[in-house]
Amino acid sequence: MRYQQLLVNTAATFVTMLVVMLCSAKLVIASQPIVIGLDADMSSVAVEGGQAIKRGALLAIDEINARGGILNRQVVLEISDHRGNPARGIKNIEAYAKNPNLLAVLGGVHTPVALAELPYIHKHQLIYLGPWAAGTSIIDNDYSPNFVFRISVRDAEAAKVMLRHAAARGISRIALALERTGWGRSNLASLQQHSEAYGISIVSVQWINWRQQDFQQEMRAIAQSDAQALFMVVNAPEGVVIANTMVQLEKPLPMISHWGIAGGDFAARIGLSTLNQLDFAVLQTFSFERNPQDEINQRVFNAYRNRFDTNAQRDSILGVVGLAHAYDLIHIIAKAAEQAGTLDANAVKAAMENLSEHQGLIKQYIPPFTPTRHDALFADDYFMSRFNALGHLEPYPEVN
């Protein structure tokens, strides 16, 4: 009996201690800041895109922290550099999954990385926010529940906008230059699907590898195909190779580009003199110049100048779309987390899908997302832009 009593007492003491420890552990966690991960290319081929996303996120986090944070906890941005390499991205996701304070992971420019990360995002049930990568299948994945939300271009929609722009300029025969990845293939599919509707035929499809240095052979094929314009779905380094080859043609073709080239400092890499010889139309979703009187536009632009670059002009911020997308995404996830009252991914996901509206930097989202629609921007929200003489992007005047 005595022995049994002792056992019970010991067990009781143990349980009490365990409870106390758990509680204190929970208290410790509650006092630690909430983490939003940024998993993007910060040092390789789309550094400017990564930088813009980071700055947009930081501007939103500054505002959120200034009004008390999320669930009364401060918010910090934790950055992992995937250098555009899917294998590194997967490793980053695995590391974030171990962090108990994580609210969500903000992605980067590269579609192949996002696609490769999908199985791990869903395995660990993390909220993944897409501020840039446009691959259609990032959102239209086969996972249920789907933890991926995006404020960015959707390739299927991008194809329509680029084709509409070409049609408005009287172009009916186009050649394609696509990067040999999931992103290039996703766009090929959309362009093939929609081109007929705009009376446009694809007369040549050329692929370019990452780090490919020579595009002469492909350019000859394009020139012989009698195309009237070249559609480009590539990042800045490959865009520079293509543009430098194009400028050698006797009559360079107009180039209509997905926005990949805006993820790196394309204008600086190619040089203003070459750039000014070429006719570029680039897909964009946002420019500070479009609604300069808008209150949020002014607030964010001023905050950007104060915090990052006092000399910034409305047209001079590189990768400005990433900045705007990240800014709106962070505010929406903050709202959702407040509404859910917890960091639990399933609860936050449900809240994301059920927000009624949000007044953002890009537009008023009514509603931002629904259980069946995890993309927030569509063809009507996109516009084409062009490089001005200083190499800054400005809205394309006549067609839009």
Binding site: K91, W210, L390
Partner: protein, 953 residues
């Protein structure tokens, strides 16, 4: 004699045994040399094979490595790392089809950035396990390739690079060096042997297969060479028979050669002995024959050898010199006759034994008999020295001085047998000596100090000083001769003067300087020293003559004057510099106040506030006016005020100036009128100064007149080459007391202090005006009656215009320039200004431009270099910390901020309203100039104007 051996036998007996020994030795040496050379040659050949093998290994590994790196950086492979979902369609094919060596079973594997294996062929079970983890750090972290060559194979890994970092790795393995080392064509066999003795590579694998143990091979009949490479043994070998094959054929040839050498030598010895004996015999016969034929010149026999010929030559010389001796007597006579000196030799009986032609000439021309000479020279009444100087006179009066030297003549036994008399003509020398004596006396008696020093002697010692020198310095001749005249210098003598003197001496130049010297008693005096070189005939300088004068008094006086002048100038400069900098310091804040008040005027103010601001603005303007006066005055003081000359329209100038005061007068209901008669309108002169004078007089007139009127009367009269402008400014104001009229143009003068209190002003205006008028070649007068008014009349000189009058003279710039040519485009303006208030003022005035501000020239250049956008125009303050506006402009113009800014319009903004500032700005490369305080319309006007000009360009 007959018992001696013949020369031929003697030579043969001595030479033959020695010859035999030498021949044997030579034969031995040749044979051993041939063998050694052959051996070394084979060694070299094999060493060459081994070096080739080494090179071949290194090249093969390097080749394989660089091939692997090339494949690792193939863009398809790089793309495969990124394109995860489709990589399986092309990467495996790529890896499978990659062939780097002849080994069809080579192993290849592709790893990701973390070292995980993605794709491979022939990998598992083939690659030794110790390779699997050895390379990761070096390849993936350091992004370098990894190479390992071992007994169990060759393992190479290359990084797959994206933008400077390893994002993956490609690994290669073959199980033996054999697969990558290529064969070199040579007859010998080469092996690479591992540490354990295993053969890793063989150039003849059929005889010596790869994998066998090297130490079990039988290589005793082989020539073998080896070397070490890394941890491997390299061996090259071939059979001895092969190795020495190429020298066997030499043996019979060498034997034949030795035999023929022996035979030839024997023959040579015999022949040489015969020849020597024959030759000597012939020479013997020849000489005997020559001595027989007495004088020996009849026959010139030719000797067959050099030695024989030399012996014969020596004999002939001997005979010739005996003949020559008889000739010398005649030559001796010729020599004595060619002497200039008189030579006569007499014996003990006073009879001439020998005399020369000079003696004959002397006796004939100077009518001297031999007895006269005996009497005067050989036996004079009084004999003082061995040398005797005598004078002779010709009938024509020509004098001859002769120095006679008598010496005894002794025979071979040393007995006295007569006298030798030699007479030297010293006439020239005597004349010169007299001349020198006179000059020396003259120098010695001179009143200026004269010294001569010999610069060819070490230390350049004095060789002459005169009496005046002794008087001047207190030193006596004996004290100073032989010394360098440096003893005159002392502690306060300027080193540069000493240097000047020594430079002059070194270069052989004359010099004239005044330097401080010391007398013997230590007292100082200023010595005006004139040094002249004395040149020799060949142009070289041998002496310096120095003339010294005591100029202590003059020197002191001039020093006092110099110092006094310097002090006076210094104080004037200090004063004007102080004023200039003060004026700048005062101007900057006034500009700020003026600008800010201007901004206030544009704001929402009620009427009284508007009024206050207007008054504050007027006060600021007045204050600035006072400062300008002070500045002008400071320039007059510093003697810096200058008058310019350029073409202008006098009528327009008068009208513009008076219009301004007419407006001011109108507020007090006082009309200001101009009447003029000008013979010419287009003249040349200084508009700024004329306007200043006129403004001064008009502002006084309007200020001191409370009712009535102000009139200006101007006439321009033509003189020969200039015009005279006469102006009269009359008012009906308070007037001036007659007693004050004389002082009215003095500095700081107003009629009395109460005037200052009532009307303000510095009292400098009239003084400045007077100075300006005088500078322009005119004068100013005043007549006045207290209480009735004053009339100031002045005249200045003007000049005909340098160029013809322009057809249309447009006074004011069109205001339509104040708009942009491009409509909606906002020009990008860089404002370089350190004063925050001025920054704000300029920014507000230019609210339809994009204005970027930097605080100094350096920041401006950095901004121009760094900014992506192109600035259209630069507003440049002149005085700033770190780098001022002039320097910054010069640098921008030289292209330091980029080629695109070399011609950008730069407008100076400056508080320095000094005359000449505009020129400084233009000289620094600026395009235009705005003086602070600037008003909105002026600033905008200049900015638009230059923006539009730049756009048109």
């Amino acid at each position: 004699m007959s018992r001696l051996p013949s020369l031929r036998q003697y030579l043969q007996r001595i030479m033959l045994p020695k010859l035999a020994v030498i021949l044997v030795a030579i034969t031995l040496i040749i044979f051993s040399a041939v063998f050694l050379t052959a051996n070394r040659h084979i060694g070299e050949v094999h060493k060459g094979y081994l070096t080739d093998l080494k090179d071949s290994i290194e090249q093969s590994i390097e080749l394989t490595r660089s091939e692997l790196i090339t494949i690792a950086n193939n863009d398809l492979l790089v793309n495969g790392l990124i394109d995860m979902d489709y990589q399986q369609y092309y990467l495996p094919l790529f890896i499978q089809s990659t062939q780097i060596t002849e080994d069809r079973n080579l192993s290849l594997a592709l790893f990701n950035f973390a070292g995980d294996k993605l794709l491979f062929k022939n990998w598992d079970d083939r690659v030794p396990v110790h390779y699997l983890n050895a390379w990761q750090t070096q390849v993936l972290s350091n992004a370098e390739s990894y190479t390992s060559v071992n007994e169990d194979g060759v393992f190479i890994v290359a990084p797959v690079m994206i933008n400077g970092m390893a994002e993956g790795a490609l690994a290669f393995y073959v199980d033996s060096l054999h697969w990558i080392v290529s064969n070199r064509p040579n007859v010998a066999t080469q092996l690479i042997v591992g540490e354990q003795g295993k053969v890793l590579y063989s150039s003849h694998p059929k005889q010596y297969p790869v994998g066998t143990n090297y130490y079990s091979l039988d290589l005793n009949t082989q020539y073998t060479a080896s070397a070490q490479w890394d941890k491997f043994l390299l061996v090259s070998f071939e059979p001895f028979i092969n190795a020495y094959n190429n020298i066997f054929w030499l043996i019979p040839i060498l034997t034949l050669a030795v035999i023929s050498i022996i035979l030839t030598s024997l023959y040579s010895v015999r022949a040489a002995a015969n020849l020597s004996s024959l030759t000597l015999q012939r020479l013997h016969e020849n000489l005997e024959h020559q001595i027989d034929s007495s004088q020996g010149r009849s026959e010139k026999a030719q000797e067959p050898t050099l030695e024989m010929s030399q012996i014969r030559y020596a004999f002939e010389q001997l005979i010739e010199s005996v003949n020559d001796l008889s000739l010398s007597n005649n030559r001796f006579r010729n020599i004595t006759n060619s002497m200039e000196e008189i030579l006569v030799v007499v014996n003990n009986d006073d009879q001439i034994i020998l005399s020369n032609s000079a003696f004959t000439h002397f006796t004939e021309h100077y009518e001297q008999t031999f007895d006269d000479i005996l009497k005067n020279v050989l036996h004079p009444a009084v004999r003082t020295a061995k040398k005797l100087q005598l004078s002779y006179q010709k009938g024509t009066g020509e004098q001859l001085h002769v120095s006679w030297n008598t010496s005894p003549m002794l025979n071979d036994e040393g007995e006295f047998i007569g006298h030798i008399l030699v007479g030297e003509n010293i006439t020239q020398r005597v004349i010169l000596e007299k001349d020198v004596l006179i000059r020396t006396r003259a120098m010695n008696e001179a009143t200026v100090s004269i010294v001569i020093s010999d610069i060819n002697q070490p230390g350049n010692p004095l060789i002459y000083v005169n009496t005046a020198f002794e008087k001047l310095t207190g030193y006596s001749k004996t004290e100073v001769l032989g010394k360098n005249c440096r003893f005159l210098q002392g502690p306060n003598t300027a080193p540069e003067h000493i240097q000047q003197i020594s430079d002059a001496i070194n270069t052989g130049q004359g010099v004239e300087i005044t330097l401080l010297n010391y007398r013997k008693d230590g007292s100082e005096f200023y010595n005006k020293l004139t040094l002249s070189p004395i040149q020799q005939r060949d142009g070289s300088v041998s002496h310096f003559i120095g003339i010294q004068q005591d100029v202590t008094l003059q020197e002191q006086t001039s020093r006092y004057l110099e110092e006094a002048k310097l002090r006076a100038e210094e104080s004037t400069q200090l004063k004007s510099r102080f004023l200039a900098s003060m004026s700048h310091e005062i101007r900057t804040p006034i500009n700020g106040i003026y600008g800010m008040l201007g901004l206030l005027t544009n704001g929402k103010l009620d009427e009284s506030q508007q009024n206050y601001v207007r008054m504050a603005r007027q006060s600021t303007k007045d204050l600035l006016h006072i400062i300008n006066d002070i500045l002008d005055f400071s320039k007059i003081e510093a003697g810096k005020l200058t008058v310019e000359r350029h073409d202008f329209n006098l009528m327009d100038l008068l009208n513009e100036t008076i219009e301004h005061y007419a407006f001011e007068g109108a507020t007090k209901d006082i009309p200001v009128t101009l009447t003029c008669s000008l013979s010419e309108q287009w003249v040349s002169g200084d508009t700024v100064r004329i306007r200043q004078i006129l403004s001064n007089l008009l502002s006084n007139a309007v200020k001191f007149t409370s009712q009535g009127k102000v009139t200006v009367q101007a006439t321009l009269v033509r003189a020969e080459d200039h015009f005279t402008l006469k102006c009269e400014v009359s008012d009906t104001g308070i007037g001036i007391e007659a007693s004050q009229l004389d002082n009215i143009f003095s500095l700081f003068s107003q009629e009395d202090e109460s005037t200052t209190r009532q009307f303000g002003g510095t009292g400098l205006g009239l003084a400045i005006s007077k100075q300006l008028i005088q500078l322009m070649g005119g004068d100013i007068h005043v007549t006045s009656t207290k209480g009735k008014g004053s009339t100031f009349s002045f005249s200045v000189l003007l000049y005909p215009a340098l160029k013809d009058a322009p057809a249309q003279y447009t006074g004011a710039q069109s205001q339509s320039a104040d708009s942009f040519a491009t409509g909606s485009y906002k020009p990008l303006v860089l404002l370089v200004e350190d004063n925050t208030i001025n920054q704000v003022v300029a920014r507000e005035h230019l609210n339809d431009c994009r204005v970027m501000v930097t605080a100094n020239g350096q920041e401006a250049i950095d901004a121009l270099k760094g900014a992506k956008a192109q600035f259209d125009l630069i507003l440049m303050d002149c005085q700033m910390p770190v780098m001022d506006g002039y320097e910054a402009t010069r640098r921008i113009r030289s292209g330091e901020a980029g080629d695109s800014y070399q011609n950008v319009p730069i407008i100076a903004l400056t508080a320095n309203a000094m005359k000449g500032d505009r020129d400084t700005c233009i000289a620094a490369g600026m395009n235009d100039y705005i003086s602070k305080p600037f008003n909105e319309s002026e600033l905008r006007h200049k900015v638009w104007q230059w923006y539009n000009i730049a756009q048109v360009d």
